[in-house]
């Protein structure tokens, strides 16, 4: 529970930093362009501070807890996983996704897709060899056939094969 509270706290801090960035950058602009960002940003920042303070003083925002019927509690939920376990799983899936995008940057979609699907199924899902190979082939067929052939889209070919990413 304590860890969960910390999670909420740190995520709210992240939101606060983002909103603070918007507010501070707004001062670089003239009166009109900065009006709405400040009008929205400052109250949002105040509410974020309220949420952060409510981690210590829960009554501060409990007044604004609303519910149109306690349906969530009626929903059958799986037993909660431990926070450490959940955090580890989140990091794992994020690493997989980041790895996939890195692979796309390096070798392009047509090569990255089967590699990612195969490795994900084999290592993360622990699927059988045949299942992993078949799904990987179907996916690359779908991407090549659907996008390159049918939609005539030029899929990114990867930096190693001479593709240039658009300007950032």
């Amino acid at each position: 529970m304590k860890l969960m509270r910390n999670g909420t706290f740190w995520f709210t801090v992240l939101l606060g930093v983002i909103v603070l960035g918007f507010v501070l950058f707004s001062f670089n602009y003239k009166a009109e362009p900065r009006f709405i960002p400040l009008l929205v940003g400052i109250p949002t920042l105040i509410m974020i501070i309220l949420v952060l303070l409510s981690e210590r003083y829960p009554k501060l925002i409990s007044l604004f807890n609303v519910s149109l019927g306690d349906v969530e509690s009626v929903l059958k939920r799986k037993p909660a996983q431990s926070e450490t376990d959940l955090g580890r799983k989140v990091l794992a899936i994020l690493a997989w996704m980041a790895g996939f995008i890195l692979l796309i940057f390096l070798v392009g979609f047509i090569i990255a897709v089967p590699i990612f699907v195969f490795l994900f199924l084999k290592i993360y899902t622990r699927a059988g060899w045949l299942t992993a190979v078949i799904i990987s082939l179907i996916m690359v067929g779908l991407i090549y056939g659907g996008f390159e052939v049918l939609m005539r889209a030029n899929m990114f070919e990867g930096l190693l094969f001479g593709a240039q990413p658009s300007q950032l």
Partner: protein, 498 residues
């Protein structure tokens, strides 16, 4: 009006359009049956594939998905006690006991009929309201538009379960994100781009929405894992016709549930879970035999199913008239509008009425096809739910990432999708309603444009925001919504002291 109706309806005479609608229904049925995945993921996958299509044809595909995903979620709820989508959870309470007693066919018959007819009731209300909505939106000037956006945002923060402050924070953040890029109201001033060329055009709508709504959902269910249907199908599918008759036997319960669903759908942010549970509890409270609920009472299947399908049509009302999405699926639909060159907001009903009618006709036909086809393929659909979600995750991720790239051919859109996915997961996990951020993001720029249009048209005076009766009504409603939680808490406190 009639011209738009004929224009949209006549397209249904084309075999290609019917096939596309049918394809949408199939996709929605398959995705809807997979526990954990919902129509919003299906929309996220198919939207990029429709790039370059005629908008009206693409709409038939989208509405096919939206109209069918809910029913197939009830198939697993009844047969396996595992709801395909969260709103189907209420169907488990009586649907699965019926299946265990050997009345699976009857329960499915009730579900199919109530779903189909529930959606039709919702659509009739929507169709009846279109002429009125057109008149209402034409009465809206920039000042009124500014207030309705603010009202929509606050209403969603109130309606989304949890804390209103967190909803407002998410909404504020959504507005700020929408302001990134060139500001056309301020002589092309680039804002918050941090020197990045990529952000000059703003945060791209489709990658952002696909990440925020679809990728975050995949992360969530992959992390939670084990969302495999654990149950086993009990009973044969006989007595389907009895189930159909059962709906007509409980006319009042049916119409009440459909009305609740449509009403809940109109209120942005509340969603199908509340609609189905509210209908279920209302049916129980008004029943002569409330003790039979939970043991296989047909009304316990009829009420949530009629309600959560009627909700889809209700959710289209604020989406089509003001661009305020009622739920994540409608938000994704609005993203698709933008991809197809249609600007969500009041002018949609003025300039693209045929699109609204296409959605209405499509929703009716999709529900008829789903209800009929669903009964035939229900046992096979139930088997699909045994597929592990972890097998599906890489497939959905590949389709989402490849799809967003195809739209503009910009590899950074893929990175944006990933960042939005992680961000959406964080918002969900820590209790910040994503739908509020989506509404802020979709309507933020429109709010800013409306604000400055109003000010400039009134020579810099703020009085324009307070003079019209529509603005005054919206301000009063806004204040009421903001005060409701506070007043409720004070009354609860007084009652507990008393």
């Amino acid at each position: 009006m009639l011209e738009a109706m004929i224009s949209a309806g006549s397209r249904l005479g084309e075999i290609e359009v019917i096939l596309i609608l049918f394809l949408g229904v199939l996709i929605g049925m398959v995705i809807g049956v997979l526990p954990g995945l919902s129509g919003v993921v299906a929309l996220g996958i198919v939207i990029p594939f429709t790039f370059g299509w005629e908008p009206i044809v693409a709409m038939y595909l989208f509405i096919g998905i939206m109209g069918s995903s809910m029913f197939s979620g009830s198939v697993t709820a009844i047969l396996l006690n595992t709801p395909g989508t969260p709103p189907n959870a209420a169907t488990c309470f009586d649907g699965h006991p019926m299946a265990r007693q050997g009345h699976a066919g009857k329960a499915l018959g009730i579900s199919a009929t109530a779903s189909g007819l529930g959606a039709i009731v919702g659509v009739i209300v929507l169709a009846g309201l279109i002429p009125i909505m057109r008149m209402v939106v034409l009465a809206f000037g920039p000042a009124e538009m500014f207030w309705i956006i603010l009202f929509g945002l606050v209403a969603v923060s109130f309606a989304a379960r949890g804390n209103m402050i967190k909803g407002l924070i998410a909404g504020g953040l959504g507005i700020l994100i929408s302001l990134i890029g060139y500001s056309y109201v301020h002589s092309n001033v680039p804002r918050f781009t941090g020197g990045s060329y990529y952000l000059w055009d703003g945060v791209q709508l489709v990658p952002f929405m696909v990440g925020l709504l679809a990728v975050s959902e995949v992360i969530n269910y992959t992390v939670r894992g084990g969302t495999i249907a654990q149950g086993e199908m009990k009973g044969k599918l006989t007595g389907v016709l009895d189930g159909v008759k059962e709906v007509f036997r409980h006319k009042i319960a049916f119409f009440r549930s459909a009305a609740i669903g449509t009403g809940i759908g109109i209120v942005p942010g509340v969603g199908g879970v509340t609609a189905s549970f509210l209908s279920y509890t209302t049916a129980m409270q008004t029943s002569k035999h409330p003790e039979t609920f939970g043991t296989g009472n047909p009304e316990g299947v009829l009420a949530p199913e009629a309600s959560n399908n009627a909700k889809d049509a209700g959710a289209l009302i604020p989406a089509l008239s003001f661009g305020i999405p009622g739920d994540p699926s409608t938000a994704m639909l609005l993203a698709a509008f933008v991809l197809h060159g249609l600007e969500p907001g009041p002018m949609l009903l003025v300039h693209h009425l045929d699109i609204a009618w296409a959605l209405i006709f499509g929703l009716v036909i999709a529900n008829v096809i789903t209800s009929t086809l669903g009964l035939i393929v229900a046992p096979y659909l139930a088997k699909l739910s045994n597929i592990r979600v972890r097998y599906i995750a890489p497939v959905v991720l590949v389709l989402c990432f490849s799809g967003v790239f195809v739209i503009r051919g910009n590899i950074w859109d893929v990175v944006l999708t990933l960042i939005a996915g992680i961000f959406g997961y964080g918002l969900n996990r820590f209790g910040f309603p994503v739908i509020c951020l989506v509404i802020g993001y979709i309507l933020g720029v429109i709010a800013e444009i409306s604000y400055f249009q109003a000010i400039r048209s009134n020579w810099g005076s703020y009085s324009i925001f307070f003079t019209s009766p529509i603005s005054q009504t919206l301000i009063i409603l806004l204040v009421i919504i903001l005060l409701i939680p506070v007043i409720t808490k004070i009354r609860q406190g007084m009652r507990s002291k008393g």
